[in-house]
Symmetry: C2
Subunit: 236 residues, 2 copies
Amino acid sequence: MTPGPLYTYRWPRPALTVDIVVFGFAAGHAGSGPRLDVLLIERDQAPFEGRRALPGGFVGEHEDLEAAALRELEEETSVRDVYLEQLYTFGAPGRDPRGHTVSVAYVALVRPIDHPALAASDARRAVWTPVEEATDLAFDHDLILKTALARLRAKLRYRPIGFSLLPDEFTLGELQDLYETALGHELDKRNFRKRVEQMGVLVPTGAKRRGPHRSAALYRFDRARYDALDVEAFDL
Amino acid sequence: MTPGPLYTYRWPRPALTVDIVVFGFAAGHAGSGPRLDVLLIERDQAPFEGRRALPGGFVGEHEDLEAAALRELEEETSVRDVYLEQLYTFGAPGRDPRGHTVSVAYVALVRPIDHPALAASDARRAVWTPVEEATDLAFDHDLILKTALARLRAKLRYRPIGFSLLPDEFTLGELQDLYETALGHELDKRNFRKRVEQMGVLVPTGAKRRGPHRSAALYRFDRARYDALDVEAFDL
DNA sequence: ACAAAAGTGTTCTAGTTACACCCATGG
DNA sequence: CCATGGGTGTAACTAGAACACTTTTGT
């Protein structure tokens, strides 16, 4: 019953890492349409030197998995205060050429405020990349990204996680753009707004977003009101 | 780029295990109603000696996670040929008193044919336990079981995994019993049968199950027909 | 003959989809 | 003044929910 290295080190074992798929949503401005981005690191050492990879790293002993994910994320990309959710654990023996390494993958969603800050930070080489262009990644990170996208798309429909990708205040148009971009197909404007309104989890702030055209009302997601709802009651 | 122990052993790291939540469904006979069971092991050593626990054990180096789960399952309970799906990875630093141990949990679904064989096998102490009575388990296995149940309930609705809990041939009544037991509430018989029929993934075998009352037609799940369906088209 | 499970249709309701026009603003 | 996105209502359709009786079989 004594905790200790005796037992801990007796057998060889796989190494344990965390990898984080960080999604960011860039609202469309004039010219550029809305984009779903993923945050990638350019590796500066072998294996896969020069290849792009998901941020991540080794889990310390006595370190919580989620804590390790947040730590690596901040160390490598300066991103903090994110929605974080465990995705899946990847453990195929050949996935890391250095030896058997099992990786617990997480999905993080960040607000656009955090995007521009990245370039100015001490982040080594973190770059926002449109998801369609995020291919040929190191290790099995293509597979991890694909899995993360599938999860994001599935969960967006029945959990209010989309708001973690938008600024505190947003227009209904921006919310719809996010859904259309992430889901990959268009939605009917009137039906979309109808459903959003019926749910009653958005409160108008009274402010307006002024743009190149007619200004739009700003809304805020009301988590308290959402929590008061039945589970299952959120459905876009 | 050389794979090897040099890098592999440099740092202390959490140990890695797999744990498996094995669900079994016992159709109701005269007297006893239908039951959803979990397969538990009685621990014969510290920590948690004498307590019940989920089957599981350490992942070998260069061993695939799913392979490790299947191996441990067979070693400890003689159960083979099961539906297996990764559930979640539990890594709170205090979950194992021997030291930091991260566990990748799996859910397995087995057919009732395998139930009675267990007692006669070399399985140490594997016992089928109704889920409501599976409390006070070792480690954080109460939490793992709770998570597994939530997943089973959620997934039963939109994926055809329920058939992995039934014998090859089954009656519609048994299928409905399974759904009612797992979901924890009653379903309308006519609507249930209507939906099942509309899906068109069950084929009648022509045979009848003879019981204490009117005999019932037997069906078989047709996986080929299911695969031909759209995803999302399965919805009970 | 009776107890118990098998089997079968219809109606009503609620939710989802499809669809087109006017409005406000900035350039 | 015009281009662009903001904002609004209704009708048709479809899917889901509610509901009761007859049939078969073993005891």
